[in-house]
Symmetry: C2
Subunit: 329 residues, 2 copies
């Protein structure tokens, strides 16, 4: 029995063709697959490309696929994903489950029936997993109503601090020069009078793009946190928000494993040279497990849906195979 | 010489037909004229309706208008406003200046050549006025990058606090019941599992509308500030932000008059039964002048543009005429 697994993330999309013993037959890699970040068309195209490559590498015709699982960051539309898969040549009746990347992160590192996952990338969310399903969601309320401490939240805080530096409402910060260096200068002469030219550039740049693109500034907060008090304050406040999300999740399932993933969590708040923060402290005495490969979780879910029991041995087999294949590329 | 003055605000739009001695010949009132809040079409229609009523009341054919001024909240497009005026029958060559409502607020209450205006409604901005022009802008950076402490900012903080109450990340707050009572319940069964139903309702409601509509929740923060610590904290933080904006503006022109307007400033932070806040304290020892009628400022600007010197007597004449006319309706 041949199955597919797809991990559509904010940085790249990967697909695997596997069998029921956890053996890897083919792997495919494509660009970002988060529709919230790159738009539906590009995200869909990435899923198609990664899947096509994996099927080609496995030498498996798409119509032989008997089932699968897709773990994705952002808001994928289940019907659209099924249409994509049908477009790849798979039968429309092939059962493929679609879950958020937080579920994939949990299944990639834990076999316990109940546990938590914390994912902080462009967004920020914690979930409690029961079996292979989401039992409860904490934050993940999106850029307008939540995702507190996320990449978007940090990037917006950076942009707001720069705006306040420029017009004198807030303290000077090293963030300003870095942010201004990243935005293209444009003709702002038709805008209203009395505006500071640098602030006009920033307004023009940020309002021309979807709000979530502010997440691009998040890394500047971490980069400056050691030497700049404004950046340090942003990181500390963000860490407090994510810690509150984690605490609410932990209260719902004390003592269970916590899977962690997302670039802002792993390379930011928990980065090796990170500014000390309350989130790192909060995680110190927990059963925290870093998820390095959501594709393993997607594969575990595909197998589970096909009736294969989840075991540590199976997970280790998949992890080793995917790691080997990745190293060979 | 006959002139027009228009004050297009978030609550209503008013137009006046005046002569060079500051006498009022006709007044017109229509609905909200802030394009950022109600959309361009509705805002444009309000300007047309108010102007038509004022011209009819004055018995003045539009082609006799020799000039005028339009003060507007939000981002009106100067070319569009001129097209609207031409559509009302005015000659395309008639000089009409278009300025932000903060300028109107200043000119309505001050004759000094240099001074400040602070306007906090859906947005939040301070300006320094030199003559009749904006010399410098503080905040007013919009809902994504600034407008800190504004109606949008407060409403977003309320919605975020409610989201955090519902999923246990934040403290319980009386805001939750009020916010949930205001949003229509809808079918959310197709959304992902594990979400608290009330939070789903909130997400669905807020993401379906333009972000600035969150400003509708701002009044709840003030209403609960005395009895609810979450609401009190939101108002205090908002007041700190507006105070920082004001401080930056004051540093640019110490000791000058400060015109204040906007429902969030006047009825919120400075409301008669307002929770004590740092903004009220900051304004206590300044030459603060509350602007009750931006139309007076628009009329002063129209006269100035027509070469009539700004004097206190002229301003008092206009104010009295407009107040009388308003009382008679």
């Amino acid at each position: 029995m041949t199955l597919i697994a797809v991990d559509a993330g904010g940085t790249r999309t990967r697909a695997a063709v596997i069998d029921r013993r956890g053996r890897l037959h083919g792997l495919g890699i494509a660009g970002p697959g988060n529709p919230t970040a790159v738009g539906r068309e590009a995200a869909d195209a990435a899923v198609v490309a990664a899947l096509a490559e994996a099927l080609a590498a496995a030498g498996t015709p798409a119509e032989r696929i008997k089932g699968g699982a897709v773990c994705s960051a952002g808001q994928h539309d289940a019907d659209r994903v099924r249409a994509i898969l049908a477009g790849s040549g798979m039968s429309a009746e092939t059962p493929v489950v679609l879950v958020g990347d937080a579920v994939g992160a949990y299944l990639a590192v834990a076999d316990e029936p109940t546990g938590l996952a914390l994912v902080v990338g462009t967004g920020s969310v914690a979930i409690r997993v029961e079996g292979t399903r989401i039992a409860e969601v904490f934050d993940g309320a999106g850029w307008l109503l939540g995702d507190l401490g996320s990449g978007f939240w940090l990037g917006q805080a950076v942009a707001q601090a720069v705006a306040a530096d420029i017009d004198g409402r807030g303290p000077r910060t090293a963030l300003t020069a870095d942010v201004l260096a990243r935005i293209a200068s444009a003709d702002v002469s038709s805008w209203g009078g009395g505006r500071h030219p640098e602030l006009l550039q920033l307004l023009r740049h940020c309002y021309a793009a979807p709000p979530v693109e502010l997440a691009a500034f998040a890394e500047l907060a971490f980069a400056h946190a050691r030497a700049d008090s404004v950046a340090a304050r942003i990181v500390e406040t963000g860490a407090k928000h994510v810690a509150a999300t984690l605490r609410a999740a932990r209260a719902s399932a004390p003592g269970t494993p916590i899977a962690g993933s997302g670039s802002v969590l792993i390379r930011g708040y928990l980065g090796t040279d990170a500014h000390p923060n309350v989130l790192a402290t909060e995680l110190a005495d927990t059963d925290f497990r870093r998820c390095d490969d959501g594709l393993v979780g997607a594969a575990m879910l595909a197998l589970h849906e096909a009736g294969v029991p989840r075991t540590l041995a199976l997970r280790e087999e998949l992890e080793a195979a995917i790691t080997r294949s990745r190293a060979g590329r």
